[in-house]
Symmetry: C3
Subunit: 209 residues, 3 copies
């Protein structure tokens, strides 16, 4: 966490909530049962942070030490299970909130990695992993190739936001200047990618077999 | 492990053995080679405990420090490779033993998490993860959506058994009262689910696309 | 790492590079975008070492503390993205280099596990995991059952090389005698398997359903 302000806690929990809803929607579409919906919601909401914490050796992950981090994705999963038709119709709105969660997680993830002594490049990478890890785990469990590998511009904004946070932190700037521009760069870029349907390039030429 | 009694060691190894057989059967049906059968057997037998140990920071996992925990799933894999037609025919019996393994693992997993300082809610969750993690890893490696997400009532009994163990442990009750009712609740519920073909609910209404 | 000689560093980086190219080629064939190609390249090149380090508790993984280990798979991914038609045509050559990487990783992985206090059997297993883990992660992310489970003799040579390293290390022999015969056994066996199209046995008889 960037600091212990109630605002950031609320934002983080909101980010987990919308990540978890995206996981729950995938689960409902795959006809999983209520347990599968809650597990996919939880994995999507918390998976990125868990992966970062396991890689940097910060175990047990913070979310396992604070029941609010466990309650929020369960609530999101149950909400999706019941209200999935309505949530599915407002998926664009969910995606905007998801972009906000991505912006927040890439910055907090990078800062946590720096705190644990990682260098600037790995820390930026861990920030990106925090943002995208949950979605990758969601897609693996749902039996599809992660969408962020082929059809969405999602990881690059996260890497950009994380890189800002690492750069500003190395300059010794204060926390607000470290965190918020990073969050905004990631959020703004990702929202533009949603609105304008930007995609990353595909390799040209026929793939050899 | 709940304690160091030979009975519990035998039960744990038996649980790993039947978990591993279920992994080996999936591998044979997917036409994997002998190495794939042994790896799927090992992953199913030990994966839940490995996942728990990595998440709670108890690395290297206990199974890596005791050759018996490695020998048992290899033996189960080779047994399945050779005798898969017979084992496949008695799959219902395998499932009953699997339910016993589930009961045991959810309790021992929860107690190990408590020992490592996790709170009650995360400890119960880790107990469930110990029980279900191997089957999830098996299905991921075999290229299918985990069956416990959509067609079997499997995780809820594990969570119930783990929750009992955590609750009784918090009351300071003695080990037998902590462990065995938890094992029995999970085992009994799971066996009833097998016999009566119980399933968890699926979301109602058409899934939006 | 076996020791800090520049030769071994170059060999390790070369091994990561060719592993990463095999990941990039799979990604291009699955029509992933440039980010997906780089992620699959990185996962294939570094995944085995990451998995070993997480399991033995050596976190953060060494590759996160040395930017060269991160740069090499990114370069391999971008190279594959641009030159995939040519690389795809020389895949047999890539496979020979891949066998060299496998030989190197199974030995260095086993020795690192011994350094961290694991016993001989788990250490040999961790050596094999170091060699095969990246390819398994690559296939999971690309949505296919790992090829080493069903159509290639790949893991057994890695286990043989790792076992040699552990055995020779336990005898107290010097480093060259520990490392190079292990590398050569794995490399030679794997190359023969490629050239002669050896495969591991499949279970006989119809699989029960």
């Amino acid at each position: 966490m960037v600091d212990d302000s109630p605002l950031l806690l609320v934002l983080e929990l909101l980010g987990i909530f919308v990540f978890a809803i995206s996981g729950g929607l995938v689960a409902v579409r795959k006809h999983l049962d209520i347990f599968g919906v809650v597990v996919l919601a939880g994995t999507t909401g918390l998976g990125g942070g868990f992966l970062r914490d396991v890689l940097i050796g910060a175990t047990p992950p913070a979310a396992l030490a604070d029941w609010r981090y466990l309650l929020v994705p369960v609530a999101a999963g149950l909400t999706t299970f019941v209200f999935h038709p309505a949530l599915g119709r407002m998926e664009r709105l969910v995606n905007i909130f998801d972009a906000a969660g991505l912006g927040l997680f890439c910055v907090t993830g990078a800062l946590k990695a720096l705190e644990h002594g990682l260098g600037p490049v790995p820390a930026a990478l861990m920030g990106m992993v925090t943002g995208i890890g949950g979605g990758i785990a969601r897609d693996l469990l749902a039996g599809r190739v992660p969408v962020i590998f082929s059809s969405e511009l999602y990881a690059t904004p996260a890497l950009a936001g994380a890189s800002w946070a690492v750069f500003a932190h190395e300059q010794g700037w204060n926390l607000w200047l470290v965190a918020w521009p990073g969050v905004l760069v990631c959020f703004g870029w990702r929202v533009l990618a949603i609105v304008r349907n930007w995609r990353a390039p595909i390799a040209s030429g026929p793939a050899s077999v």
